[in-house]
Symmetry: C2
Subunit: 566 residues, 2 copies
């Protein structure tokens, strides 16, 4: 394979790198040999992208790889430093792309941080470094200033404990306030800002408050409509959105990648470390470290698209309900779609797409090959069964992030083997809903094996009630005519955590919890969202055996007498 090299580039490397990428053609290794490259949005490539679970928009892109074949970007260990609102990498309609051996950071990150220097019931004083995190206060609003952007708080603030480097114990978004539209700010000294609010979870002195002041406009790596992609040895220190987001891709591997804070920061990327929507083939995540990002380390799911009108015997109008799904394709001619009831989540029919006519980012008209069946009703959903991957997660470490750990919702094989798992919410979550997030994917073959689960569920209640949380959002699982998920095996794992709840499972047919070791660490005071280690709701064929440390014995059997159908 031919190879081109790119040496040091002083100043803005954007144009030179873009031209080099264009001239390189296909079947090429683009080898960076410099130590550091800087990219600004000003003269960058531009395109409109609908990026699932991030914000769609007209984006500037530093290194676009569009309609390319067999291209390897080898950073040679270089730092890629970005300035302002520019997406580092987009891989679009390409095959055989490798991104290797570099780090991504921003000169001025999209979040800021400061240290708690005082607090009382009326507010919290935070000391910020105004050189690293420029800001001003304007009519009670804290406005952060960046390179070509400025922004008030968007999703509030977030407290980390510098002793653990983890989210502060029991502290949720905005220390219990959630997402307030505004937190009134006052200057109380040079570089000290008072956040005036009655925070339910007052932070301790010395804790670090992260200011969340950007929506998810700028993920670091966006993969769309591409195949056979490898990210190897890529370190993401920041992103104004997710770290890696893929949609409608086939075969993606993350190998020895890291999402981790840069020196002096306690936060890494602004949202999920990695996220895959409507992909297929294999998603492999191996030997990665995902820590301190402000949302989940990994989420693999499909989309439930709501039926809003039945137009004729073959045709429906569907809606992408969640605003961060707007503009994502429903599917393509020939794709098999599953129809499900939004209350039971149970699929009742499949039908192939004859044609999709996009109305706008939110609505599409979908005509099917076969006639619609009689069960099809408004508010039911369709999901694309031809875009569901297998998922392999091995040798990874996740910790110290906001929210949950691995989220896996795909009917393909799911193998979560030999990982170090800790999260402020559940360590693994397998959900599915058709009413709020519209993230689909009943699982059919899951193996969670040989993992070390550390502290989990020490954060805000909605992020998790048990270390492994299988909770499809079904109103009445105990009377559901069938189970939503099936065939989940949780075997030979080690759980070392402070809290009581190890497994919560709803609507699973075929669930094994065997050969696991459970140990209470006492590191945190037990939160006690669950009253026993194992809880089952509306499950069938549950096998619990050979576990150590499930004391007092009987804990789980007590749960099994609940609304389980075992």
């Amino acid at each position: 394979m031919k190879k081109i090299t790119l040496g040091e580039i002083s100043g803005d490397a954007t144009t030179k790198v873009l031209q080099a990428l264009e001239q390189a053609g296909d079947d090429v290794i683009v080898q960076f040999t410099g130590a550091c490259y800087h990219f600004w949005p000003e003269r960058a490539y531009e395109a409109y992208y609908f990026i699932s679970n991030n914000r769609h928009g007209l984006k500037r892109i530093g290194l676009p790889l569009i309609n390319r074949r067999n291209v390897t970007i080898d950073g040679g260990g270089a730092q890629f430093i970005f300035h302002g609102e520019i997406i580092p990498f987009v891989v679009d309609r390409s095959t055989g792309i490798t991104l290797r051996n570099f780090s991504v950071d921003w000169e001025r990150p999209f979040y800021s941080q400061g240290e708690v220097v005082a607090s009382d019931v009326d507010g919290v004083d935070v000391a910020l470094d105004p050189i690293m995190y420029p800001y001003r206060i304007e009519t009670g609003h804290l406005i952060f200033e960046g390179e070509g952007w400025e922004s008030p708080l968007t999703t509030g603030v977030f407290a980390f404990d510098p002793k653990t480097r983890a989210p502060a114990y029991l502290s949720g978004d905005s220390m219990g306030l959630g997402y307030p539209k505004n937190i009134r700010a006052e200057a109380v000294g040079k570089g000290v800002v008072r956040l005036c609010a009655n925070f339910p979870q007052l932070p301790e002195l010395g804790m670090v408050v992260v200011f969340r002041h950007h929506h998810r406009h700028i993920p670091a790596v966006f993969l769309i409509a591409s195949q056979d992609l490898l990210l190897e040895g890529v370190t993401l220190f920041q992103a104004g959105g997710m770290g890696i987001i893929g949609q409608f891709c086939e075969n993606v591997k993350l190998l020895a990648c890291e999402v981790t804070p840069a020196a002096g920061r306690i936060f890494s990327v602004c949202a999920d470390a990695s996220h895959f929507v409507n992909c297929r083939g294999e998603i492999r995540v191996e030997d990665c470290l995902f820590e301190n990002q402000l949302d989940d380390p990994l989420n693999v799911h499909g989309l439930n698209t709501r039926i809003t009108e039945i137009i004729d015997g073959h045709t429906i109008l569907v809606e992408l309900v969640h605003h961060e799904q707007h503009g994502v394709s429903v599917g393509f001619t020939g794709d098999a779609m599953r129809f499900s009831d939004n209350a039971t989540l149970l699929g009742y029919a499949r039908n192939k797409i004859a044609e999709v006519e996009r109305i706008n980012a939110r609505y599409a008209r979908v005509r099917f090959v076969d006639p619609l069946t009689e069960e099809v009703k408004l508010n039911h959903v369709i999901e694309n069964m031809d875009w569901t991957p297998d998922l392999y997660v091995t040798g990874c470490t996740i910790r110290n992030n906001r929210a949950r750990g691995f989220l896996a919702s795909t009917p393909g094989k799911i193998r979560i083997w030999g990982n170090q798992i800790s999260a402020s919410g559940s360590g693994i979550k397998i959900s599915g809903d058709a009413n709020y997030w519209f993230e689909s994917g009943a699982v059919e073959d899951v193996e969670i094996r040989d993992n070390d689960f550390g502290e989990c569920c020490y954060g805000d209640a909605p992020w998790g009630k048990a270390v492994i949380d299988i909770d499809p959002e079904i109103a009445h699982p105990e009377t559901n005519p069938a189970c939503f998920h099936r065939n989940i095996r949780i075997e030979n794992n080690r759980f070392a955590t402070s809290d009581i709840g190890i497994l919560f499972a709803r609507s699973v047919d075929g669930l094994t919890f065997a050969g696991n070791q459970i140990r209470q660490t006492g590191f945190y005071p037990a939160v006690g969202r669950m009253s026993q280690a194992l809880t089952f709701e509306g499950c069938r064929s549950v096998l619990v055996e050979g576990n150590e440390g499930l004391a007092p014995e009987g804990t789980h059997s007590q749960a099994l007498t609940g609304p389980s159908t075992i």
Copy 2:
């Protein structure tokens, strides 16, 4: 020509009208026969548009006419009522389109208004109708609520005098504050808001304050890359942007159109009534009424695009500097571009485009057929000489709007005949600059004849110093090697205004001011921005003769002894 009719449609007419337009095909009259049609953005057509002098973005569009031939939309007098962020009409890559006989309004307009009920040096109390103009106050911010949107003040507030229905005397943007980032608001009673600021131009009790809380996202009619367009009998009561904006169009006629406030409102559209950028053929504006819009009634100009890099002997990188020009095309292969010096504004070379390569919305690489001449320097500008129209404005009335009257900057014929002209700034402005607005267009043949000029220049100083203001932004007009504009004839007009300044002219070669009648009305106290009726700077071949009311005689000749070259 075939004709299809569209009767009453209850509820959201968007989908039915869109389908009817699609099915109608070309060479058709689409006749509305109902009284009123409502349009929501939810299921509307969507496209990304770069709309000059408005905001670019992903737009929902109620009635798109794209790639159409000979289509007439006849509203039959219907009201078209829009709800939320939806552009009523886009005409794109079409020929022979007529929009006729309807009105456009929004259920909830993009601006709000209220009455001044108290004021002092620390602020102004305004009573708003919270049913018509829903709002809330949040941490000192006044947030207006609409259908699917909410917005704080964007460009502040604006005072109108209900006795004259015109902008309050000498009151500018935000009553002298300009565009403050925020005006702190307090609730002082049910439906009464105190605007806390030291307004330099305190409004009188009973004056009407218009709250400007939307950027220019939603013009009413956007015309792009189309030919032979007629708008006849169209009334625009509102738009969240300009009324009618055309770019790269050929032959556009506005006949008997109105931009005027709906009952109960003092404002009509949020920005210019009509605006044409890089058009050609003829722009005809006949028998129209444009009043109470929050910016100019008409502006016809080209774009000066800045040279930011000389890449090679044939190629430059150019920048669209003003953010509301971003994404507008520089031109097309074969277009003749004029190169000008940004200090003198004088053109020194022409060259045809061989190829335009768009980098992003702001930058383009332009390769020329002939070699670049030696004079080409950074910060010089290019303008497209193949997209310059003739302009005919006859029988129109303009009044009571913010800012200026007719803005005309095109080298084609300009004929402003028989109009009623009043504006809070200059009644006619012929400018040109290459450093701030980047609006181009040295004039070559202008006739301003038989117009009745009423009160002008009673508003904020930057909007005008004389009734006719010819002020290309040239740093040293008196030493410019040549004049920028030429051949302007101002004849047989009647001026009845309170202020002294009738004509200011800079850098015009061939200027006649003859046969005009001038009368001081005394309606407003004279503002006195000029010390004589006529002022000339760096002009040549000026002829002033046969005017009435230029008292004291000698006023203008005093000015002629200034830095004029006559």
